[in-house]
């Protein structure tokens, strides 16, 4: 395929160049978790952990792609010998999460593909640290990976989207229904597949008695903070609704929110517009639905008690520390809010078997992840209901 030249003029190449895109079309797909890729990511891990140590998200990525960690993941795939990458994966990273792009291309590589990545438009320092490290490796011992990676920036451009979409075998779109609709205007090859991460919401379930018995309440507050305030409560994994179970809800809530407040107060800076935004969200909600607002001690935590939950509730969700709370008698009561748009359930003090029972008992279309409190953002190769390695690779049958 000869590439249209005109689309390229708006593209800024951070890793690779126009020639890389040309050559990418001829590279050999690799088997999942190939030694070449694992060695490359392991080296990348070393550099970014050193150079990006001031960024917790860069360090997290670095730890995630160490050789030992990747080899452990590899063990989970019993069909890896029959699998190969599909060709080129085109990733559209979110503009406001710095390191997400790195997990995305790393998975693309691990699945055996060449990767074109549209980087966040914002100039995050974290992006620079990771891209510099990649360039250093590609210029040295890892030049053999050069044709597998191309990291670019470009302004909103259907022409460029068209170009990359026509080349790829898998397209990965991170986040935002609006983004997905926009990118989908660019056609894919007939056999290409697409992995989209749409706008979703998440919930948390806490057992009041278990919480009161816990002796690590500060650690729980930290875990909750990491799930919520750390991403301005604006990641799709951040809970917007807290469901309380058990007999000692009132007591547990008081303690829980006090701890959460102390932890967040020391770390989270609420900008004036966020304070006004939260008040606006409260007004919009209470104008339409019955709500009891807990004034708390300041604007850091907004708690709105609701006596009914359904999917419509989540249309009123907001960020920066804005929580609906619901008292439930049993886990089953979450069913009305666990529709397709519900992504992650984080929990504290509930046995995993309870969730398995629940999924067997009632119709739950959503909820693709059930993880302990504090782990909502932890990246895994099964994400948002997608088995990323398998969806970015093909399985070959040989008789």
């Amino acid at each position: 395929m000869i590439l249209m030249q005109s689309g390229f003029k708006n593209i800024q190449f951070i890793v690779g160049g126009q020639n890389t895109v040309e050559r990418m079309q001829y590279v050999k797909p690799l088997p999942p978790f190939s030694d070449e890729v694992i060695s490359f990511l392991n080296e990348l891990s070393k550099i970014v952990i050193r150079k990006g140590r001031t960024f917790s998200d860069v360090v997290t990525f670095g730890f995630w792609c160490r050789r030992a960690a990747l080899l452990a993941e590899k063990e989970k795939y019993d069909d890896k010998k029959q699998r190969y990458g599909k060709g080129i994966v085109f990733h559209i990273a979110p503009s406001n999460v710095p390191v997400n792009f790195a997990f995305s291309f790393a998975v693309g590589l691990l699945a055996g593909n060449a990767n074109i990545v549209r980087l966040p438009s914002k100039d995050f320092e974290q992006v620079k640290v990771i891209c510099d490290a990649i360039n250093q490796l590609l210029a040295g011992d890892y030049s053999y990976m050069s044709d597998y990676l191309c990291l670019v920036r470009y302004p909103v451009s259907k022409e460029v989207n068209d170009l990359f979409s026509a080349l790829c075998s898998t397209r990965v779109i991170w986040g935002g229904d609006g983004t997905i609709a926009e990118i989908r205007k660019s056609p894919l090859k007939p056999r290409a597949n697409e992995i989209t991460f749409a706008d979703r919401y998440s919930i948390a379930v806490i057992d009041s008695e278990a919480y009161l018995e816990a002796d690590d309440k500060d650690a729980i507050a930290q875990a909750f903070y990491n799930d919520t305030y750390f991403s301005d409560q604006n990641a799709c994994t951040s809970p917007h609704l807290i469901v309380w179970l058990g007999e000692k809800k009132k007591e547990a809530k008081e303690l829980f929110w006090n701890k959460a407040h102390s932890y967040a107060n020391a770390r989270y800076e609420l900008a004036p517009v966020q304070a006004v935004g939260k008040l606006t969200a409260l007004c919009k909600f209470s104008a339409n639905r019955k709500a009891v607002f807990d004034h708390g001690r300041d604007n850091l935590i907004y708690r709105i008690a609701v006596d009914q939950i359904d999917e419509g509730l989540m249309d009123y969700r907001y960020n920066s520390g804005f929580f609906f709370e619901f008292d439930a008698e049993s886990l089953k009561e979450i069913a009305p809010i666990a529709g397709e748009r519900c992504q992650t359930l984080t929990y504290y003090g509930i046995k995993v078997e309870k969730f398995k029972e629940l999924l067997g008992d009632v119709k739950i279309l959503g909820i693709d992840r059930i993880v302990p409190m504090g782990k909502s953002m932890e990246f895994s190769l099964i994400w948002d209901g997608h088995d990323l390695i398998r969806e970015m690779s093909k399985r070959i049958e040989i008789w």
């Binding site: 997400n100 935002g176 409560q233 104008a287 709500a291």
Partner: protein, 362 residues
């Protein structure tokens, strides 16, 4: 409480304690009024846990974020009673506020504005130059903030003349003939800050370069609409005044602060350069952390209260502006009430998270 009785007081006549009593009585009454007549408002007050009997100071009355009027219809009268709907000026694509006015509220807006402005300009009508294009008021039923401002201030003028054409260019001949016609009279000029600068001052400068000078030293200019655009051009309020005086002798210049959501209750800038609260309204600055009240001199989010709004629940609003209360009852200009300054819009925060990655943001 009849608003017309309140209007009998002159706008800067009451000291803090009397003003507080008056505001509290009227604003509590308005809160109850809207609670009974506006269902969405009632829901908000219920969520707040508002108890009218527990409130003995208007500082304790809940405030609505001003942007709510962009996001929902808030009205405390029947649709039939609405005689005009005012809209905020938003650039295309942005949501605009919709403010529903019945006859009483619309009248009170007009009367209040008159009381406030004549305190600065005197009671008699003056020949009026509008520094804008006439097309801004074409649709009389849907008032934009610009149009509403012009029409509101028109009551102070006679022989109202728009000096800009549809291309926002100064009609020099029209200006010339207007000034000849009204020679020796006090001229009233009105316009939006940015328009005055961009389309009037700059053009006068250019004409001065050609040797054509205009004398407006006997005029009074009232301008509003914010400094945002001029700050990007690095023009300070002081420079704005100084340059206008240099080019045409105009020195009686008053900025004002106000918003379409509380039309009528504007905050005029006095001779000392301070924005003043009249007795019909007030300004409270609040801390973003907990919305507690700021001390004098401490910058905070501006809350505005107004005794006018009866047809929509806009009597207590939290703006998106930051300001500072400079003093109360002791401005050297002699007017009572709080005086303050506006620092500008609250800064937009960069929110993290993973939605909206592509479509609109950049």
């Amino acid at each position: 409480m009849d608003y017309n009785d309140i209007l009998k007081n002159s706008p800067y006549s009451l000291a803090a304690p009397e003003k507080n009593t008056l505001l509290t009585e009227r604003l509590v009454e308005l809160t109850k009024h809207h609670y009974e007549r506006c269902t969405p408002y009632r829901g908000m007050m219920d969520a707040y846990g508002w108890d009218p009997d527990a409130i003995n100071n208007y500082y304790d009355i809940p405030f609505l974020p001003v942007s709510l009027f962009k996001q929902m219809d808030l009205c405390s009268v029947s649709k039939e009673a609405i005689i005009k709907t005012m809209m905020s000026s938003g650039t295309s694509g942005q949501a605009v506020s919709k403010i529903y006015c019945d006859r009483a509220t619309a009248n009170n807006q007009q009367k209040t504005l008159a009381k406030i402005v004549t305190d600065f300009t005197g009671a008699s009508r003056m020949p009026m130059l509008v520094i804008d294009t006439p097309s801004v008021i074409k649709n009389r039923n849907m008032f934009s903030a610009r149009g509403a401002g012009i029409l509101g201030f028109s009551i102070f003028g006679s022989d109202k003349t728009y000096v800009l054409d549809d291309n926002m260019e100064l009609n020099v001949e029209l200006l010339e003939s207007f000034l000849i016609k009204h020679q020796g009279q006090k001229i009233f000029l009105f316009g939006f800050t940015f328009m005055v600068w961009q389309h009037f001052y700059r053009e006068l400068m250019r004409l001065a370069g050609e040797g054509r000078h205009f004398d407006l030293s006997g005029g009074v200019l009232i301008h509003g609409g914010g400094w945002k655009k001029l700050i990007s051009e690095a023009v300070s309020p002081a420079e704005f005044k100084q340059r206008l005086e240099e080019v045409c002798g105009l020195h009686d210049i008053h900025d004002y602060y106000g918003m379409v959501e509380q039309t009528g209750c504007i905050y005029m800038e006095c001779e000392c350069g301070h924005l003043h609260t009249s007795i019909y309204s007030d300004v409270i600055t609040r801390r973003p952390q907990d919305f507690s009240v700021c001390n004098m001199g401490e910058p905070g989010i501006i809350q505005v209260v107004s005794m006018i709004p009866e047809s929509y629940p806009g009597h207590s609003l939290l703006t998106e502006d930051e300001g500072v209360i400079l003093g109360e009852d002791d401005c050297p200009c002699g007017r009572k009430g709080k005086y303050f300054k506006v620092n500008g819009r609250l800064k937009n925060a960069e929110i993290r998270g993973c939605s909206d990655t592509y479509a609109v943001r950049f």
